[in-house]
């Protein structure tokens, strides 16, 4: 597996990284096998994601996935997000994630799904 330029870019310059003033929802998700952690701050308006900010520690894959998702999911409903699925994450990351890294790739996505449960 090679690191695509886009992953390196998002990893070095993560988008929407930081706190959200007056977040409606905060979700914390950890990956106990590697110690990665992501915290998602979001606001949902009319059942759609209005804004996402996030913070976390993790590898290039989990960082890039959180960064890319924070742009991609704005405007999505829960159904949209579910439809996007883990397959969508893998595709978004360049389509080449080995089985050992799937947990890294989907960490932020799992947290995002919980946004709608709150």
């Amino acid at each position: 597996m090679d690191y695509k330029e886009e992953i390196i870019d998002h990893c070095k310059h993560p988008r929407n990284f930081g706190d959200l003033e007056d977040p409606k929802i905060i979700i914390r998700e950890g990956n106990s096998s590697c110690g990665d952690m992501v915290e998602i701050y979001g606001r949902i308006v009319a059942r759609k994601i209005e804004i996402i900010k996030w913070k976390g520690i993790g590898c290039a894959i989990s960082t890039a996935a959180a960064s890319m998702l924070s742009e991609k999911v704005v405007g999505m409903t829960k159904v949209d997000l579910e439809k996007f699925g883990e397959g969508g994450i893998i595709k978004m990351l360049g389509g080449e994630i080995n089985v050992g890294r799937v947990k890294c790739a989907t960490l932020a996505y799992k947290a995002l799904l919980k946004l709608f449960d709150e």
Binding site: S32, I57, C104
Partner: protein, 448 residues
């Protein structure tokens, strides 16, 4: 025979190239490169002799054990019994003290459920250490929660060594080093050990930092301050790598897993001192562990069968016996000598990279205090990413928390890379690792 002479004989017996020839997998290519397998602490590779044993078993001797009077069943039973005897001899235990379990985790759970549930109560103390693998920590957390006993943790010093501190040294200093870690009292053994302690669960070798723990010091303190406390040792990184003698160590329980010592996954061993095992109730109930069964009640079989309910992994046990034969043929002192040479070499090379600011090394920096486990991070790169880049060059290292989250966190990081060595590894492979570590920052455009 002079010592020098015997050393020469030992050395000539250990031929790493000959050993490598027994491991076909070491000839395979990974991503176009020769495989450099540095992940034996997670699971070792298996030599042809061990694989052939299980093929021979399935093809020529297979039948269920302890059940039939027919020839195949008798052969299978005899082979499993022989394997048990070999494994017992390997750690200087008696066969009836050598219980087959699925893995070390199951062995520890067996002790927790069978001994812990019956013997622990509020006011009692269980002591584990900050170096423990999750398998030797979580069962004790749960047992304390269930019985009301208290968990205390032996702390670690800056070199990754357990703070055992003989009472004599403690007395001369006179100040307390106790602290709280996640609501649990954490400190030197000398400060947390008293007669309330009912069991000390400690690893002989840290799977994260490679630290060799002075079990004899733990044992001596136990004998002095809490003679009633049992000593359970996690031998997962000990038994595959150096001579092990449960009697000399003076342990009450020792657990280890087959797959880390050239054997199969799915088989591990719990050693328990006979007098203790005899007083313990079974952990699992069913076939094979009974003496007499009536409609309304049953009595238990003798050791070791009392703790081996159901059809065991008999083929796995036979294969583990073959692994023990293979290791015994090499000699466990030779195994340790070889790995000590590798870790000394690896530490020296890695320290140079550290001086350049390229990596951070974790754990004891002295081969005398360390097993063949080299733990590091590449500066500015997450462990998973470093491992992924190394994999591109055919180098297999483990990355993450190594099922030892508390000690990883104690070292001030969230994840680490770990290169671990075994009988088939070479200095050339370490050179390859060191060379390719230099490529890692380039991928992430980090200037060191």
């Amino acid at each position: 025979m002079t010592r020098c002479h015997s050393d020469t004989i030992k050395k000539t017996m250990f031929d790493v190239n000959k050993i490598r020839g027994d491991f076909k997998i070491l000839k395979r290519k990974v991503n176009g490169h020769d495989l450099v397998f540095l992940d034996s602490a997670a699971s070792s590779q298996k030599p042809r002799q061990v694989i052939n044993t299980v093929v021979d078993f399935w093809e020529n001797h297979n039948a269920n054990v302890h059940r039939g009077v027919h020839t195949l069943s008798v052969e299978a039973t005899t082979m499993m019994d022989e394997a048990r005897k070999k494994i017992a001899r390997f750690i200087n235990a008696r066969p009836e003290e050598t219980i087959f379990v699925r893995n070390a985790t199951e062995g520890i759970n067996l002790v927790a459920y069978s001994w812990g549930r019956k013997n622990l109560k509020k006011g009692d103390v269980i002591i584990a250490s900050l170096l423990e693998h999750h398998s030797d920590l979580v069962p004790w957390q749960e047992m304390c929660r269930e019985t009301g006993a208290t968990l205390k943790i032996i702390d670690v010093d800056g070199n990754g060594q357990l703070k055992i501190d003989p009472p004599s040294r403690k007395a001369s200093e006179g100040r307390s080093e106790l602290r709280e870690e996640d609501g649990v009292v954490c400190g030197p053994l000398s400060e947390i050990l008293d007669e309330n302690c009912k069991l000390i669960a400690v690893t002989a070798v840290s799977n994260v930092l490679g630290t060799l723990v002075q079990i004899s010091e733990v044992r001596d303190q136990r004998s002095e301050k809490a003679p009633g406390a049992l000593l359970l040792v996690d031998g997962c990184q000990l038994v595959p790598h150096m001579p092990t003698d449960v009697k000399k160590m003076g342990v009450d329980f020792l657990v280890f897993s087959g797959h880390k010592m050239l054997g199969p996954s799915g088989v591990g061993v719990l050693y328990g001192r006979k007098e203790i095992l005899e007083k313990m109730d079974p952990f699992l109930f069913g076939g094979d562990m009974i003496s007499e069964v009536k409609a309304g009640h049953s009595t238990w079989a003798e050791l070791p069968h009392k703790f081996e309910a159901g059809t065991p992994d008999f083929a796995g046990a036979v294969m583990l016996g073959a692994a023990v034969d293979y290791l015994s043929e090499i000699g466990m002192e030779n195994v340790r000598d070889h790995e000590k040479e590798l870790i000394a070499y690896g530490l020296e090379k890695m320290k140079k990279l550290e001086e350049e600011g390229l990596v951070k090394v974790y754990g004891p920096l002295n081969a005398e205090e360390r097993a063949g486990v080299l733990t590091f991070n590449v500066t500015g790169v997450h462990a998973h990413d470093a491992a992924q880049v190394l994999d591109k060059y055919g180098i297999a290292v483990r990355s993450g928390q190594h099922c030892g989250a508390p000690i990883v966190e104690f070292c001030g990081t969230s994840a680490m890379c770990r290169a671990s060595f075994y009988i088939y590894n070479t200095k050339e492979e370490i050179d390859c690792l060191i060379e390719k570590i230099r490529e890692v920052p380039k991928v992430f455009r980090i200037d060191n």
